[in-house]
Symmetry: C2
Subunit: 224 residues, 2 copies
C-alpha cells in the first residue's frame, strides 16, 4: 500500500525532485500549493502539470489575503522590484529582498493542519543547504525546532516534518533529479514569471549554477 505523505510543492526543481523521490520510495503524496500573493502564479501551473503526469492529488490553497501582512518582499510587494544579480559574484545582500517573512512557517502550519485532518503524519518539503545563508527558515535547526512545536500543538508525537535535502546543495538535487528522470523542463524557478526564464534573477542564477556544477545539460530556455 502506498505510504501517506503531504508535500509542499512550488513547481521548482527542489520540490519536484522531492516528489519524484517520494514516489520512488513508495509514497503517494498529496501536493499542497499556495497562492500567497506572489507576483505571478506561473509555478502553480507547473505543479498541476507534474501532478497530472504522476497522477497524484494537488490542492491549491488561496491565502492571498495574507498579502497585507507580508509587506516589503520583492516576491509579493509591487513596490519592490525583483532583483537582477550578476553571474559571478555572491549576492546574499541582494537576495534579502526576496525573503517573504515567515513563509515556510506559514506553509508548514497549513500542511500540518491538513495532515492532521486526513490522518497523515508525515510532511515533506524541499528546502536545501544552498538556501540556508539567506533564508533562516530553510535551516535544519529551524525544521527540528518547528517539528517539536507541531508535535506539541497537535499532541501527536508521531508527526514528522522532513526536509530530506536540507544538507544537499542544489547541484546535488539536480544530480538526483537526473537519476530519477525528472523532466526539468517541467519545472519553474524564475521570480519574474514571463514566457521564458529571465536568466538574471537570483533564482535563475542559482538554477543555472546548479546545472553547471552538476555537469548536467540544462534544458531551460533563458531570455538572457
Amino acid at each position: 500500500m502506498d505510504k501517506k505523505a503531504v508535500l509542499i510543492g512550488s513547481g521548482g526543481i527542489d520540490s519536484t525532485t522531492l516528489l519524484y523521490k517520494l514516489m520512488d520510495e513508495g509514497y503517494r503524496p498529496v501536493v499542497l500549493t499556495f497562492l500567497y500573493g506572489q507576483k505571478h502564479g506561473k509555478e502553480i501551473q507547473f505543479v498541476k502539470n507534474t501532478c497530472n503526469i504522476l497522477k497524484v492529488q494537488n490542492i491549491t490553497i488561496d491565502i492571498t489575503g495574507i498579502k497585507d501582512l507580508i509587506k516589503g518582499s520583492a516576491l509579493t510587494d509591487s513596490k519592490v522590484d525583483i532583483p537582477e544579480v550578476p553571474e559571478t559574484t555572491e549576492f546574499y545582500d541582494t537576495l534579502r529582498t526576496t525573503i517573504v517573512p515567515n513563509r515556510n512557517s506559514i506553509f508548514l502550519t497549513l500542511a500540518v493542519a491538513y495532515a492532521q485532518s486526513v490522518g497523515c503524519n508525515h510532511i515533506f518539503f524541499g528546502v536545501h543547504f544552498s538556501d540556508r545563508g539567506v533564508y533562516p527558515d530553510c535551516r535544519k535547526e529551524f525544521i527540528d525546532s518547528f517539528q517539536n512545536s507541531q508535535i506539541l500543538a497537535n499532541d501527536n508525537k508521531n508527526l514528522r516534518i522532513s526536509a530530506p535535502f536540507v544538507d544537499l546543495d542544489k547541484s546535488d538535487i539536480v544530480k538526483l533529479g537526473n537519476d530519477l528522470n525528472v523532466p526539468f523542463e517541467n519545472t519553474w524557478s524564475c521570480y519574474k514569471g514571463k514566457k521564458n526564464h529571465c536568466g538574471v534573477c537570483s533564482s535563475c542564477r542559482e538554477r543555472k549554477r546548479a546545472f553547471t556544477e552538476a555537469g548536467i545539460t540544462d534544458p531551460t530556455i533563458y531570455n538572457n
Copy 2:
C-alpha cells in the same frame, strides 16, 4: 511612547481583556483577526467595535481558502454540528469536535509574519489555563517551543510570543477584566452566532461558569 505589539483578537473575553491589559501597560497593539472559514463572522464585528472604542488598529485577514484543509471541526465544517453540552458535567470529549486543527499555529505564524514586516518583536495572544485540557495549542509548553521555532525561522532572537493568561483560569480573566473596566457586553463567545448567545454550546457554558466562579455579574443575554 507607546510600546509596539501585535495581538491576535477573537472578540471574546480573553483577548479583549488582554487588549485592555496591554493598553493599561502602555502598549498600542495592532489587533489581527482572522476569517478562516468559521461558521459565523460575528466575532469580527465585536473586535472591530472594541478597536474603534480604544482607537487601535484592527486588521482582518481573510484566509477562508484554508477551509478545505481543516475539515472535521464543528467550528468550520457544515457537516459537523456545534455540540450542545449539559451544565453540570465535564465535557472534554464533546469539546474535541471544536478543535480546529493547528489553528493557533496558523494564527501565530501569520502574526509573526506581520510583526516581522513592521519591525515589531512582541506578539500576544489570550489562551488560558482552562483550555489546556482539550486544546494542546493552548498549553505553555507549546507556546515556549513555538516561540523558539519562530526565533530561528526569522533569525530574530528578540522575538517574543507571550500568552500572559496561560496560567490563569477563565474566571481569573473575568476578575481582571472587571478591574480593568472591560465592557463584557461588547465581547462574544458563542459558537453559534445568532442574535444572542445560545447559552448551551461549550463556549457559552464556559463563559457562564467563569462569571459565576468569579462572583461577577454576567451582563450577557443568553437564549437558554
